[in-house]
Assembly symmetry: C2
Homo-oligomer: 306 residues x 2
């Protein structure tokens, strides 16, 4: 068997720019501008978009308008909007906004979890009692995030056995999919293979997603490993929106345009129109008022042969 | 066999920043500053560096000081400096500077070759009569470049059969290695596999190198394919120096730091100290007076766990 012999025909992209992309931005982004970004993302053909986060505005001021964003942005029939939800209050707000999907998050690194949500991992899992099961009971799909799977800014290496335990716990409790996060963008390809070997021994590939940050330029190489091992959902953010709080100015999420460009080049369907997606990246850039780092975003998508 | 089952233990990096990196820079870079960059690259552990280009200053003003650069920068015992040489006059200059290696270049796309050196491909091959054979006869190693292998800004797709023909011709005439270039950074992984399948059917892997531009973020993913197929020499430029004349502001060469970070993470030896290499990237950035796009360059190389 040769490298890349068993690629999927189709990949599902889970777009996180309105949430993971914006949450660390210093610029105050107007609510209507966020809605404009979401609409541009929908126009590009993206079918799964995380539109906001129902966290306390005290923690993440950028998401203080979560209710308005979720109310104003209405998904077309075939599009699913989701929102990050840390607790029961968040779920109520998501349901009030008629969201059909929510996402819960925790970290495989205890220290990172504590610094991120001020709870231990076990306390976080208990807080999900008022999110996962009630959401599922109410017909709301729940997605899980396990972050710092590839490494932690505080603890360094993270045991994959702990990531596996958390992913299995979230799935057992009702999450339809768990997204494994390289939160600080340290992952390299053999590490990705090793992590996925452990995960896929106990979890079907379609229940997993990869959420790679491109802080050190390795996101797409890691995606390639995931693809070849059967992963078919990848998180990304248009323009590479989303900084890394630990490395000011550094690249954030894998840029959706780069991902789509690479997949298209391999004949893998995404349902996304790259030209329209590039336009959405222009909207995102205008919105945050700084240059975004995505490579295709910068290079453009003009036809190559004149 | 699983993905990445047969990786090399060691990779050789061919650093092109002083030449390919600088040749399109608008800023006038002082000769002593170029020498400082070369010295910083040597300190990082890089052992193959293309230090300048003996083209006419009328074509590439940035390289008008090629003779001085080559004279001032003296390689340690175990380091090889090389320079681009388009013709017999260039070879004379390279020999006068005591360079032990030169590089010749042509394009697999006729239109690109014509626009680049104002000669047809066959005229270019004839001009090499006064470079390759005389150099080899004088004990000077010759490296070949075949560019636009992954695509041409004028012609679009390029026939791999033509790239193969040119690579074989250069090797038959005495080049010790041919570097295949994705000059405009359009390559994607399955394309890379297809190109290398054709190449490796007739050329041993150690006679080939890959020279990938990161214009659309795919360089490292393509390198991963090359690695898994036996390629062990990769060209790169510190900081991702080197723009793309067809896409202003777009990323240029694969950043050496990103390549080294990824290889180190896979346990593949490069002989390069990443911290020192990052310092060389700071020298490069100061030299051109603009922010460089390399991801590790921007993110830094501080230890992750505090």
């Amino acid at each position: 068997m040769k490298i890349l012999d068993a690629l999927p025909e189709r990949v599902s992209i889970y777009e996180v720019s309105p949430r993971d992309g914006l949450q660390n931005e210093a610029a105050q982004v107007a609510t209507h501008a966020k809605v404009r970004l979401i609409e541009a993302l929908v126009r590009s053909g993206l079918r799964r978009i995380e539109v906001t986060s129902f966290v306390s505005p005290k923690w993440v001021p950028q998401m203080a308008d979560a209710d308005q964003v979720a109310h104003m942005a209405t998904p077309p029939e075939d599009v699913r909007f989701s929102a990050l939800v840390p607790n029961g209050r968040g779920l109520e707000r998501a349901r009030a906004a008629n969201l059909g999907e929510v996402a819960v998050f925790l970290s495989a690194s205890g220290t990172h979890n504590l610094k991120n949500v001020n709870k231990t991992v076990e306390q976080t899992l208990r807080a999900f009692d008022r999110v996962i099961e009630p959401a599922v009971a109410a017909g709301v799909r729940v997605r899980g995030y396990v972050s710092t799977v590839w490494g932690c800014p505080y603890e360094g290496e993270v045991a994959t056995s702990e990531s596996l335990r958390l992913a299995k716990t979230l799935l057992a409790r009702g999450c339809y999919q768990v997204s494994l996060g390289d939160t600080i963008g340290v992952g390299t390809p053999l590490q990705t293979r090793a992590i996925l070997d452990v995960m896929l021994a106990e979890i079907p590939a379609e229940k997993l997603a990869m959420h790679m940050h491109d802080t050190r330029g390795t996101a797409l190489a890691n995606v390639l490993v995931g693809l070849s091992m059967g992963i078919t959902t990848f998180d990304a953010a248009v323009g590479g929106l989303g900084g890394c709080p630990y490395a000011p100015g550094a690249a954030g999420n894998l840029a959706t345009e780069d991902l789509v460009y690479c997949l298209q080049g391999m004949g893998i369907e995404t349902g996304v129109d790259l030209e329209q997606l590039w336009q959405a990246g222009q909207v995102a850039e205008a919105l945050v008022g700084r240059k975004l780092p995505g490579k295709v975003h910068v290079a453009g998508v003009r036809s190559l042969a004149h």
